[in-house]
Symmetry: C2
Subunit: 235 residues, 2 copies
């Protein structure tokens, strides 16, 4: 398949590398391809320059967000930061029309790029906005009425999402939520190709609220264990 | 042990019955014991009158909140509704001083008793207040500085909390959070007597935020499965 991944951060790279490994044509979108390729220093998260990543993963094409979305033949993975996602995606609504958009962002609030956006082991948590009575997944769907938005991936680390067998032999659970059954099936098929066997459809996109709000619990478990983990629903 | 359970709802009853079965002296607290015993109709959740429950569980004593807390020799389980908990517990701060208080409430907001307070299968969710930047567990701890508050139980249904082996042979995970290590050990011991083997200490009480905010995810999973389940952290 021709799959677009919007974003060049650590989460996006996990999908880009795995999709290429699985034989897909991967079209990566970034705000400004020239600026992305011009970077020679690691970013604030310590992630290597994207041009170095591209050199290690030949055959992957870098475009603008809109050109990457247009190159997809049906599936687009949104790896744009939560606080920029609605604006950036709205700007390419035409290129996303009719396609399935997988959103996995947590809408963490931070005021400046220099602020560390992640929860800290000593208990400081970033705020979520929206939270509780709305979700980023629902906001994106409202902004893109012609696109089929599916929330998924968000309850697991990205390295685990693309390769679940690294945890507990792969016996843990992935979730999908969204309005369109066919779109959820596309995402479920992708997840199966990643190695997931236990994929639970949580129903409509309102379930994004719980999936995003789980972020605090996810952080807490990660700090407590000091290592990687998966979430298994025991029946 | 002499253990106090504050509240007479379904969650409290699960603990009362299980603690009595395990041989503890159970002291139940309610706002007005005469009013509690005078009820002859099921409540809005369809729960049988408490006097019928007491008739089926001989030897359990019903007191005011304060007298029940005073009768405990160290452990108190808070089963008071989230929106009433801080006020009701503050009123008996002296009787709770020096004791371990286990809180498992979700701070659902509803405006009138006649409003159904729970999430619905069609996606309507009650709001949480506090949420994200504070939690009920932390509010209770601030209101009761002489009491050791431990947040636990909240990520599972009460029937499963008191008997984890009913799900997946008991191979799932329970969480505790709080400032006092000794208090968390008391709760861990209680959980082991209930049948829990995998108990994860999430750290300080700030983790209550994630534990309470998980409520939306818990509801979503329950609706999706249409049955009981447990949460297992796969390593």
């Amino acid at each position: 398949m021709k799959i677009a991944v919007l974003g060049t951060g650590g989460g996006a790279r996990a999908h880009i590398a795995r999709l290429a490994e699985l034989g897909h044509d991967v079209h990566v979108g970034t705000r400004d391809p020239h600026a992305t390729l011009a970077r020679t220093e690691p970013d604030m998260m310590g992630t290597e320059p994207f041009k170095d990543f591209l050199a290690e993963h030949p055959g992957i094409e870098l475009h603008t967000f809109g050109d990457a979305a247009a190159a997809s033949d049906g599936l687009v993975i949104n790896g744009i930061d939560g606080h920029n996602a609605v604006a950036a995606l709205s700007a390419i609504a035409d290129q996303l029309a009719g396609k399935t958009l997988i959103d996995y962002a947590v809408p963490y609030v931070y005021r400046h790029e220099s602020e560390h956006p992640w929860p800290t082991p000593w208990g400081v948590m970033p705020k979520l906005d929206p939270c509780d009575t709305d979700s980023l997944g629902e906001q994106i769907q409202r902004a893109l009425p012609r696109t089929k938005v599916v929330k998924s991936f968000v309850t697991q680390e990205q390295t685990t999402v693309v390769d679940p067998k690294t945890i507990g032999g792969g016996d843990h659970t992935m979730f999908v939520a969204g309005a369109d059954t066919g779109a959820k099936q596309q995402v479920t098929d992708l997840l199966r190709s990643y190695g997931w066997n236990d994929i639970l459809d949580l129903g409509p996109l309102v379930r994004s609220r719980g999936m995003e709000m789980y972020a605090h619990m996810h952080s807490a478990i990660g700090f407590a264990l000091g290592g990687h983990f998966g979430l298994k629903i025991a029946r």
